[in-house]
């Protein structure tokens, strides 16, 4: 794409003997929109804070434009941050908040006024300059926080779950807005989120993290279509993950049946994880199916139904636009490109079984993640 701007090399972070980051190696290109994605406690915010200069890594180096910046304090870095829950200055109004960085840099008064006003327009807050911070809605505060960082025209903008406190609708609007600003201003964005949809729809590059380690780096499509392990497959979208055996190139066996697939390069008879996305499964009449199962649960999701289907004691999630009632018997067909093969990993067997699935469960975990850090 373009030249490398930031490089994290063998980054390790320990708090009280607990390893928060484990040999992180990552480079970020100029003008890139890179997202650090993972569940709470995966180390994504810690990584961001190290780039911002608020934390010093236990070991490893951070380089910026070819120079090591480990010991450079935050105020000397050409990096600005949009903080989780904004951290706007409550003693200043909207204008003064946005002007803060420019005034610290001792820019002439006219230039400050001009740049702040321009920025107010960019974030659609024209005329709000004299408003008190506390009189603004969450979405407006959010935009002030973005403006306050962007007005300094930093090389890199760090965003720590900036949309976490907003409701769904506003979040969608802001996602589009942020992407637009990023492209218009040509600034490198490093974005932290636990929301996989947000990550996939906005980013050039997604970095999936868990337990302080990078699990996979790639374009959104690659992350979704070719997850590297069961964790990534489960965290990014929904996945049915089954035990299988790779018989030879393009041939995988699971549930006592051999399927054609598009993967190769595995050892003969290597046991593997097989990922099948719920939206890829075709439902057919039982007599035409590769596999035959019984529907044990149906949830209406608006766009589709989530149905849980039991095959030989293992429950799958299937997304379908056609209604299939509980207790009905259905057949499914799997095309070769619907079957993704992964090497076994430490995450094998932990994800992808929907035996305990319920829609409620999903929401509960999401709430818990909102409480992060």
């Amino acid at each position: 794409m373009s030249k490398e701007l930031i490089r994290l090399q063998d980054l390790t972070m320990e708090f009280d003997g607990e390893r928060i980051l484990d040999s992180i190696n990552l480079y970020i290109n100029d003008h890139e929109f890179l997202t650090l994605l993972g569940p709470s406690g995966c180390g994504k915010t810690t990584t961001l804070r190290i780039i911002g200069g608020f934390l010093n890594p236990t070991s490893g180096t951070v380089t910026f434009d070819g120079e090591t910046i480990n010991d450079v304090p935050p105020y000397k870095r050409q990096i600005n941050t949009v903080f989780q829950r904004y951290a706007l200055f409550p003693h200043l109004n909207v204008f003064d908040n946005i002007a803060f960085g420019l005034r610290v840099a001792k820019l002439p008064r006219e230039e400050v006024t001009e740049r702040v006003n321009r920025m107010l327009e960019v974030v659609s807050l024209k005329g709000y300059g004299h408003r008190h911070i506390n009189s603004l809605s969450g979405g407006q505060q959010q935009r002030v926080a973005i403006a306050r960082a962007l007005v300094n025209e930093p090389k890199v903008l760090l965003l720590d779950e900036p949309l976490g406190a907003l409701d769904l609708r506003l979040r969608k609007d802001m996602q589009i807005e942020l992407k637009r600003i990023q492209q218009a201003m040509g600034i490198t964005f490093v974005y932290v989120t636990h929301d996989q949809e947000e990550a996939l729809s906005m980013s050039d590059t997604v970095v999936v993290m868990d337990k302080g380690r990078i699990q996979q780096i790639g374009r959104p499509e690659d992350i979704y279509n070719e997850p590297k392990n069961a964790f990534v497959a489960d965290f990014i979208g929904e996945s049915n993950i089954l035990d299988g055996v790779m018989l030879s190139d393009y041939k995988v066996r699971f549930f006592g049946r051999t399927f054609q697939c598009v993967d190769k390069g595995f050892a003969p008879n290597e046991s593997v994880d097989v990922v099948i996305r719920p939206e890829d499964i075709d439902i057919v009449a039982p007599e035409e199916g590769h596999l035959v199962g019984v529907v044990t649960g149906v949830t209406f999701k608006g766009l589709n139904y989530d149905i849980i289907v039991e095959f030989k004691g293992f429950k799958w999630l299937i997304q379908t636009t056609d209604f299939h009632g509980e207790g009905s018997t259905i057949g499914i067909r799997l095309n070769p490109e619907d079957i993704h093969i992964m090497h076994k990993s430490e995450y094998s067997g932990m994800f992808g079984d929907y035996s305990s699935y319920s829609a409620e469960y999903d929401e509960l975990t999401e709430d818990a993640e909102d409480e992060e850090e």
Binding site: P74, T81, Q84, H91, N134, R148, A149
Partner: protein
Amino acid sequence: MKKNKSVLLSAPYILWMLAFTLIPLGVVGYYALTDPETHVFSLGNLKELGMYLPVLGQSAMYSLVSALICLLLGYPVAYYIAHRGPVAQKILYMLVMLPMCMSFLLRTLAWVGLLQDTGIINNILEAIGIGRLQLIRTPGAVILGMVYNYLPYMILPLYATLVKLDHRLIEAAEDLGCTPAKTFVKVILPLSVPGIFSGITMVFVPAVSTFYISQKLGGTDTVLIGDLIERLFKQGDNPNLGAALSLVLMLLVFICTGIMNGFGADEEGGVIV
């Protein structure tokens, strides 16, 4: 029903206030506005107050200087405590409170022991060859006594404000290019204004009406308004004039707290929400 209950619950306090605050206040008012000899209504006492204006001014001056010294000494302490771990914070907070557990009179007497002409400090100064100095019965000693006694009242509200200060605001300031010194001036100090005002009030109000400190540590020229009131009641035997002086002092305190609250309130909204 509910209303009756709340009246019933607040009754003891209301009675207490009535018996020991409002009625005595009325008595003070009565004395202040009656003639000492004839006991009829008169503004004579208030007219006489003019001659005590210098004392009033001196009291206000001493208290203000003490409050400012308390601020300079207390702010770093409060800041330090607010930035320790939770356990250390509790211990340090207790240490600040500790002197307040001991009698105010004892604490002041202890300073007499330290400062007097044959006191511990002077003995040491003598021993190391500097010679004895006039420490006690000086304005400095009075201010020292005030600062020493009221310093906790400055530290506690400052601590309460600083501990609430969102650390991310400091990070935000650094992120936007502030050196630590600039962060202090542009963010931390403005946001601690409510604590500063409430600390100054908390020190100023008791200091302006104190009489014990100036009597024990001060000299003949450091008579404060509190001493004067005490003297008028006890020795001068003119309770009417003393009452009038008390009223004026009360007014002064009301005005001061009013001004301080006004300043604080503007900023407060920004801190709490």
